[in-house]
């Protein structure tokens, strides 16, 4: 059965079985198979073909002694087509899983003349063919060209055995492909779910979803979202080929496709996409994105004709349901978040009073990840006798109850202060009121009351009730925590409150803040308040006050302020000797003249001041200190002399 040094047929067959069960594709052992058949006695050529259910020749190979094994040689598929058409009518005998047909080259030439020419060219006069089933409704064909009519059934038997190998390998490979597709679909679902859960940016996430599905599960994909007016907006489209992705985007945008399904029916088998042929996507599978009865959009997968990789109905529904839920959650979150921000701002004063000789700046951060209103508040209250009090507080907890207590606390304290009461009296009265009403919550508060300025400066009394004490920032950059101490409000019948007194010189500031600021952390987990707040205040001490407040509430760009945080900065600016609007060119000399009037030495010129348009010029100070600010456009220039 062997020729020359060729290995024995049983040995070849054994090797083929081993290869077939390790291969991920029949093409892996094709060479082994064809060369094995060529080694049989009198065999001059071997033809193999895979034929689809519609009779289309999908894969074709040829092997002979001169050329070896060729995959898809030009013209061979067309030459085989007549055999495919006439094959079923040819006389055949069953041999295991195969049907075996034998005929001479002359008879072959009557219906497949070009194939007969190939057989003759290889030195064949007779062909023996095996036809057998393959996976997914295909048929397999193996045709052996012999130099002469076989004397025994060796070749037919070999073909029968080979058919067994190919069928078994093909079934296993098809099963493996099915499993791989299922695993890939599960993996896409898992990765999509992670992505959806991590992000509230719906559109970016949906772009990622279509990108992740192509080309693993589909040849193309697109997603549309339904806008408020009911119109569908195309968010993203993906194709493995950039040029075809552009075409796909254009065709979808211009309506050159079947469009989105009218209803979300049970049928998700692929439908004609009606896309132009240039994009190469003939079929589509769509799923309506629906959550809580509302239609949110449409997810569509596109496929090439004849593809074996069409996502299952369960997969399409599952991924659509997850995407829809994510869109719904993100939409509800953003709506709720807007409500929280609006409510939070209603709990704060919209305008702070203007007080002579004093500048006030505030900053507020609404916790980025929470959907309940927080309890931080602040305010500035004018009092009889040229006094005023700045206060800041923090109600424990979040939500409606915290918001209600915030309103109660702020208005109780402010009313008492407006009537001329001291801050400690206001705190004690609020404490009594909270205990009497059984509020069940507590709050912390800090206040600084400023008296009318004297020749020594601006007298102040600091108070804390369980709150971080105010911090005094001197005009030379020194930072001092006020020495006041006190217990929180709403817990004890008689909280101990020990105020502290101080005097601000022109240029000194007082900073009040809530614990959201000191508890901000950097990348290493270090708290802002533990390590860096005082050095930061020192570094910021002479900057324009709005910049100081903004920098603090943003953690100076180094600390993540995740919780609610309120900041109030009050600077005693002393006597204002200039406050005017001038052309920019005239501002420096006017400012220097004003500083000179205070008895302070001045430089010849000011460097870096705004040079265009009209500017606002202010000069504050006394004989020991002066501050110039020149503001034009969005920029404020300042100098301390």
């Amino acid at each position: 059965m062997t020729e020359g040094d060729a290995p024995s047929w049983p040995g070849l067959l054994h090797a083929l079985w081993r290869s077939a069960f390790a291969a991920g594709s029949t093409k892996v052992f094709a060479k082994e198979l064809y060369l094995g058949l060529l080694a049989l006695p009198h065999v001059r050529g071997v033809l193999g073909a895979r034929v689809g259910p519609d009779g289309d020749v999908r894969v074709v190979r040829w092997a002979d002694h001169d050329q070896g094994v060729l995959s898809g040689p030009p013209g061979l598929a067309g030459d085989v087509a007549p055999w495919v058409a006439h094959g079923p009518s040819l006389p055949a005998r069953d041999a295991g899983q195969a049907k075996i047909t034998q005929l001479g080259a002359g008879e072959l030439a009557t219906f497949a003349p070009r194939l007969a020419d190939r057989v003759r060219a290889a030195g064949g006069t007779v062909v023996v063919a095996a036809s057998f089933r393959a996976a997914q409704g295909d048929r397999g064909l193996l045709l052996v060209c012999l130099a002469r009519e076989p004397e025994d059934p060796t070749v037919a038997h070999a073909l029968e055995q080979i058919a067994d190998v190919v069928i078994a390998a093909d079934d296993r490979i098809a099963d493996q492909a099915l499993l791989d597709n299922r695993l890939a679909a599960d993996a896409v679902l898992a990765e999509v779910s992670l992505r959806l859960a991590r992000s509230l940016d719906v559109e970016e996430t949906l772009r990622a979803v279509v990108r992740m599905a192509v080309p693993g599960l589909a040849d193309g994909a697109a997603v549309h979202i339904r806008r408020r007016d009911g119109a569908l907006e195309q968010i993203a489209a993906a194709h493995v080929d950039v040029r075809r992705e552009r075409l796909l985007n254009d065709h979808l945008r211009d309506g050159r496709w079947a469009g989105v399904p009218v209803r979300d029916g049970d049928e998700v088998d692929p439908l004609p996409s009606l896309l132009p042929a240039d994009v190469g996507l003939d079929l589509m599978t769509s799923a309506v994105l629906r959550a809580h009865g509302r239609t949110l959009g449409v997810l569509t997968f596109f496929h090439r004709a004849g593809t074996r990789r069409v996502p299952t109905r369960e997969f399409v529904r599952d991924i659509a349901a997850r995407a829809a839920l994510a869109i719904d959650n993100a939409t509800l979150y953003s709506r709720r978040r807007a409500e929280v921000e609006e409510l939070q701002l209603h709990l704060l004063p919209s305008v702070l009073p203007v007080i002579e000789g004093v500048e006030v700046a505030t900053g507020y951060n609404v916790a980025g990840h929470l959907l309940d209103v927080g309890g931080d508040f602040y305010g500035v209250v004018r009092q009889p006798g040229d006094r005023f009090t700045a206060l800041i507080g923090d109600v424990c907890g979040r939500g409606a109850a915290a918001a209600a207590l915030t309103g109660l606390a702020r208005h109780t304290v402010e009313t008492i202060l407006e009537e001329g009461g001291r801050a400690e009296d206001a705190v004690r009265l609020l404490n009594t009121k909270m205990l009497r009403n059984g509020v069940g919550k507590f709050l912390t508060m800090a206040a600084v009351t400023f008296e009318a300025p004297t020749s020594a400066g601006l007298p102040m009394r600091a108070l804390t009730a369980g709150h971080p004490p105010p911090i005094v920032v001197r005009r030379d950059g020194r930072v001092e925590e006020a020495s006041c101490r006190g217990q929180l409000v709403g817990v004890l019948d008689h909280p101990a409150l020990t105020p502290s007194d101080d005097v601000l010189a022109p240029g000194d500031s007082v900073v009040l803040f809530t614990d959201g600021l000191v508890e901000a952390r950097d990348a290493t987990g270090t708290f802002f308040g533990d390590a860096d707040l005082e050095p930061t205040l020192a570094a910021l001490h002479d900057r324009p006050l709005p910049e100081v407040a903004a920098a603090l509430v943003e953690g100076d760009g180094r600390y993540a302020v995740d919780d609610d945080a309120a900041v109030m900065v009050i600077r005693y600016r002393g006597r204002r000797v200039l406050d005017t609007v001038l052309p920019a060119a005239e501002a420096p000399q006017a400012a220097l003249a004003a500083v000179r009037s205070l008895g302070r030495p001045v430089p010849d010129r000011l460097v870096g001041v705004p040079e265009h348009g009209e500017v606002t010029v202010t000069v504050d100070g006394d004989a020991t200190w002066a501050r110039i600010e020149i503001s034009g456009g969005a920029r404020t220039w300042w100098e301390v002399l």
């Binding site: 695993l183 990765e191 772009r207 693993g216 040849d219 493995v240 990789r309």
Partner: protein, 143 residues
């Protein structure tokens, strides 16, 4: 060294784990392809200019690499007057799905932008899909 007539895929990937995964995936799905690996984007142009080795039919390019990252490699290839460089198919294979990365790669001249999944089965399926596509198109960039 590869023999004549073999189809070479050049994989530019700095991660050893990803190189191993690509080898495992493509060896199984496309055993007929010869894989060559470069760990550094700086080496790509010289490899493509090397007339003694077969011109790769496709370059599989990681995006985030130290030194010459994928954008730089891609831009340099497309700007090169040599057709061996400017006309080779480049498939960007990356874990990023952000729109800005995709747009940047498209502007730089990528032929495909393919998401690199974490799951190996999906990794293999995605790679197979991308290579199959270009194989079906005879590894030729449309004009």
């Amino acid at each position: 060294m590869t023999g004549g007539g073999e189809q070479v895929v050049l994989v530019v990937e700095d991660s050893e784990e990803d190189r191993e995964a690509i080898l495992r995936a493509l060896s199984r799905s496309h055993p007929e392809l010869v894989l060559e690996f470069l760990p550094d984007g700086h080496l790509v142009a010289d490899r493509l200019r090397d007339g003694t080795s077969p011109l790769p039919v496709l370059v599989l390019l990681d995006l985030n690499m130290p030194g010459a990252d994928g954008y730089r490699v891609l831009s340099d290839l497309r700007a090169d007057p040599d057709a061996r460089l400017n006309n080779v198919i480049v498939v960007v294979f990356t874990s990023s799905t952000t729109s800005s990365d995709i747009d940047r790669c498209y502007e730089a001249g990528a032929d495909s932008y393919v998401y690199k999944p974490v799951n190996f089965t999906l990794f293999r399926t995605v790679l197979q899909g991308a290579v199959d596509y270009w194989h079906t198109n005879d590894f030729v960039r449309p004009g």
